[in-house]
Symmetry: D2
Subunit: 234 residues, 4 copies
């Protein structure tokens, strides 16, 4: 059975900004913040650190940054779904703008992830791409205009609402995250309040002055937005 | 400083034939055979298992199956050289026939490996390709005709000697391994006796009836050939 | 303005089965059959032959087998949309199973084609992929299970009807072609009668004993099916 | 038999800076200058224009910007060597920095070119890459540091002489061209005088104010350098 994600959630990735022990420290900080603020945190981590992060954290939902769709056998440098699962991964990022995939590979890899109960976190560029990918029914869609990734610029709220509507009209159960260009906790709060199921940040945190503090603050913002949404709905 | 390899050595890879705990068991068997026969063993292992294999073995020389040449920063699914090093990798396979690389990427990645003291184990197809790659001065060249990889058919001795001569005439210090299609310990012995610095096998072992036993036997063959070569040279 | 296609139509490609003057001869045979049976024929032709085929035929709708999305400038070996247009292409095939594209590239290239009034003929593998691609609103969708391409095996009618329904439910205006594995004129007839807007064949024709005769017969089958459908609807 | 090239020669490419009729006009200008100055000119042209340029010029040596190594058959968007040859191509550019190739593909494609008597014009980045490629014995090597391509900056003479020496020490018969960053006729003259077998320019010409005039001037510089080299050697 796939891991159940409680919304709103937070997602972060170390990309290749840090490596080795620094990844574990960042993971522990995310794990502590997840517990402190009672917010689910998806943590995308390089292949080499999946096992270590999973074994040394309690609440993080650990995702691989990519996988192939091959089955056990040849393919010396391919990323085998079963190997990710065995190392502790609970899901996988697909079609990130830094690793675009053919439509055929996305579809096949989602099939493989479903077979192994791995969550699929699929990235899109435009709204049209998000709608196309919604037809493949991943658990999470992350529509971020490529030009914003790692840029420090953020999507506007009209885009955010439009993309949520476009995805949910095809499959109501797909969770929609906003991540492109998020650098402040206030942006996290605003995106959740605008209807996003999640917010995420990687470079925004890891290139900041105090990454662990900003990480905690962003996760706290998810919690705060969740509470405010509940009040609004009472 | 890069790890020093004593020749003749043995090389094996799990490719994606096995995953998870089975990789660790295979690594331990290789490590034990390395000690038992006093033969250096290069062990190529999926990214997810690099740290675990390195931490749980004594003598294996641990190689990643591929890496990119990027520097720390973006590139969510790229394989960062520093991350491999931090996880315990002592070298890297480049341009395997199952993950061919552009000439430009091979050259850049060898530069990065040299910067981090990672051994470079570079694969070639024909003799012409081996000569081209010799100009980039990797530590190890593995010239294996693509049509033999994973096939159970083996290179003939004329090819073996010709390719060794071709590579050494460009750079005497490059170690030349034969691996394509090796399925028996006798082939390992024969290739070493014919002048190869090393022999290797992946699918030949992992698709056999008793992989751990065949692995041990092959490593023992390297030791036996080493002894016979010494006697011959006395 | 994009070329208007009358349905049902026929589509054929030379792939790389033939080259040089043989392509022109095949194009003339297709053009003659198009006139004889009053059926629109989409003709997919290697880049080198686009101008010659267009200049030497009257009715063929000429398609390039692929294009990139770049704009005029660098990119020495990229296929520039403006260059195809200038050479006489009236449309382009995208995401063929022999040249799979990233979702992002498909979307961008459809945008470029629309900008230049080039028809987009987009290939899909499964029904799920066809639905995803329907969200990008190409003129023509060609959903053919990869395992059938060039195989001589044909899609069954249940698949055909299901895929038409799936695509049209997203965008009624998309034309749906069946092409995978078609080797006989009867199959062409059957697919049109089952509701396909078009049928197509490449290897089925070009590896047959008498390609020009089979081509003519297939195009005649489209005409015959069109007539029978009209009678049925009277 | 392959076309014989007389040295020193000039090479130019339209890349995708221009398309359609403008390519033919540029080709005619190059052809006229080739005749006027009695200098061989290699002309790299998009696939769509190969036949038209070849049929409408007298002296140009027409090259395709890339090709695949497949044989006639499937591969709808692959560039078939036989198709290029039939369209009039006399050679092919391989491994351009804007279309890098795997070492394996370079080697296979050179084999295919040799089979069809097509000249091979192979690009390299560093001196190390040029030496690697020299082992594959193309007719022409164009070592241009990637960072200079299309930049308007030019290689320095120490690099030029070092790369010529490095290539010729492996295979004396390989012609070495300098092209990176050339924007003036004086640079063309200087490179030839420094020992280059050829000079080339694409963006330098096509982004200039008067491309046809600059093209003529550059080709004239090759002629002038040839004359001055003869005098020097008397």
């Amino acid at each position: 059975m796939k891991v159940k994600i409680r919304t709103p959630f937070f997602e972060t990735s170390v990309k290749n900004y840090i490596y080795g022990d620094a990844v574990l420290e960042y993971a522990r900080a995310a794990d502590a913040a997840s517990t402190e603020h009672n917010v689910d945190v998806l943590f995308v981590v390089p292949y080499t650190e999946i096992r270590r992060v999973r074994e040394n954290t309690d609440r993080l939902i650990v995702l691989a940054p990519y996988m192939d769709s091959l089955r056990p056998g040849r393919g010396i440098a391919d990323v085998l779904p079963e190997a990710l699962k065995a190392a502790g991964a609970q899901g996988v990022v697909l079609n990130h703008s830094e690793r675009p995939m053919t439509l055929n590979a996305i579809r096949k890899t989602i099939d493989r992830a479903n077979e192994l109960d791995l969550l699929t976190f699929v990235c899109a560029d435009t709204i049209a791409e998000a709608q196309a990918l919604a037809q493949l029914h991943p658990e999470i869609l992350n529509p971020e205009p490529t030009e914003l990734v790692g840029s420090g610029s953020v999507s506007d709220m009209r885009y955010v609402k439009e993309v949520i509507r476009a995805v949910k009209s095809i499959d109501q159960s797909i969770l929609v995250e906003q991540a492109a260009g998020i650098t402040t906790a206030q942006q996290v709060y605003d995106f959740i309040m605008a209807g996003s199921d999640a917010a995420g940040s990687a470079s925004g945190i890891l290139t900041s002055v105090n990454p662990h503090a900003l990480l905690n603050e962003m996760i706290r913002s998810v919690s705060r937005a969740r509470d405010d949404l509940m009040k609004r709905n009472e």
